[in-house]
Amino acid sequence: MGALLSREIRVALRAGSGALMGVLFFLAVVTVFPFAIGPDLNQLGRIGPAILWIGALLASLLGLDRLFAMEREDGALDALVMQPHPLMAVILVKCLAHWLVSGLPLILATPLFGIMLNVSPLGIAAVMATLAAGTPAITFIGAAAAAVASALPRGGLLIAVLTLPLVIPVLIFGITATNGALYDPDPFTAPFLILLALTLFAGVLGPLAASLMLRHSAE
């Protein structure tokens, strides 16, 4: 399994630098928002956490289409499922690697983009914490959609269409917890714990559905 993790990370970092692409897209989303709502820093500061969350959510969906489609194209999927490892574990490791190279950079870029949007330091910390807790869930649910779409010629768009409605709870609790940290009467702990629960649940459901899909890889 360690071999798989290191291979995944090396492929991702070497080939198309997918990690940087996600951050770049994140930056682009953050940049267009002020043009739509105006440069008023107070307003931006107020809705900044939401902009950061939406940018990160959309950026998390990028690259998911390659998660299994590439393995299918170069024939590696067949050999991957034929090894003496539980398929769910293989998928979990692939998700973990994908998150490390595409989810984690988004979180690390958040402080910079947060400053551009006039989000307070506390707000930036809250967004980073909730993104760290929530974006894995997007990867897990997205992995199930990616497994389904990997057999299709143009599956990329389908992944977004299938995944977005299902990750609305992640967005809701991510934003709620962030606001809870920022504004006093609202709670932080409760929505944050629910967010963690959602991620754990998605960590089971997503790989399970993906492994069902890929068990006979060629169907």
């Binding site: 649910i141 199930a144 959609a145 389904v148 057999a151 299709l152 143009r154 599956g155 389908l158 269409v161 299938l162 977005l164 409605p165 299902l166 609305i168 709870p169 809701i172 609790f173 709620t176 609202d186 929505p191 959602l198 649940f201 459901l205 997503g206 559905a209 069902l212 899909m213 169907e219």
Partner: protein
């Protein structure tokens, strides 16, 4: 080498072990015949229940708060109920595909999706029409409407998926898996949207208590709910027959191409 490839066509038959009605129904020809007999009866019952429901609905007194618009409820609430029931039917069908490998389960799932999407859309449109006089706007991000909107998105996603895979047999498994993933997520989505809505509840939105529904409204509502349920099963059976016929046509064309 025991035996080389024996390629005599039309010799293999798929084993039909037990003769229970459930297995017998797996034979599509029997299903086609049964559904063909059932559909006229179901359609007639739908019409009768619908007529009674509409009559009761229109003869119901106007609500002291909402006036005549309360009658939208007799379409809106059954539609919303059907939107959820249809998804349950699809999820059971998905289990039928994945667990019991019932050959009709996949047909049932595919046939139900557009019907469910239609009822969901109907619920959204009637909700919007109802919202205009009640809330003074066509759309509010009310917890119920928002949940139904997400359900509608899931329906459309499933339909997009089923259209993206040309071969219905190969589409069966992905469709079943995504349906089930959606099914487990729907309660979570509902819970999240309720949470989100209570946090952001604008004071101006007036809501009336649905639980304290008067009997003059309850009976037409229940009759309409029965009529809609019957309508669903009628349409579902009809669409399943269409789906089977479409597959037969596909096979005929494939055979033509092969020979």
């Amino acid at each position: 080498m025991k035996g080389p490839m024996s390629s005599a066509p039309n010799t293999q038959s798929i084993p039909q072990a037990s003769a229970s009605w459930w297995t017998r129904l797996a034979n599509p020809t029997r299903f086609m015949a049964l559904a063909g007999r059932l559909i006229p009866w179901l359609a007639a019952l739908t019409l009768i229940a619908g007529a009674i429901g509409l009559y009761l609905g229109f003869s119901a007194p106007e609500d002291y708060q909402q006036g005549a618009t309360v009658q939208i409820m007799f379409i809106h609430v059954p539609s919303a109920w059907l939107a959820m029931m249809c998804y349950s039917v699809m999820s059971i069908s998905a289990l039928g595909t994945l667990v019991w490998r019932h050959p009709l389960a996949d047909v049932s799932l595919r046939a139900a999706a557009p019907i469910g999407a239609a009822f969901t859309l109907l619920a959204l449109i009637t909700g919007s029409l109802w919202g205009k006089p009640m809330w003074g706007t066509w759309w509010v991000w009310d917890a119920r409407l928002t949940s139904v909107l997400i359900l509608f998105l899931i329906y459309l996603g499933l339909m997009a998926l089923s259209r993206a895979i040309e071969d219905p047999v190969q589409a069966a498994k992905p469709l079943a898996i995504v349906t089930l993933v959606g099914f487990v997520n729907i309660p979570i989505i509902k819970f999240s949207v309720d949470w989100w809505n209570t946090l952001h509840q604008p004071a101006s939105v007036s809501r009336f208590g649905r639980p304290t529904l008067d009997a003059v409204f309850l009976y037409p509502l229940l009759t309409m709910a029965i009529a809609f349920t019957l309508l669903f099963f009628t349409l579902h059976l009809m669409n399943m027959r269409n789906e089977i016929l479409a597959r037969r046509i596909r096979v005929m064309k494939l055979k033509q191409a092969g020979n």
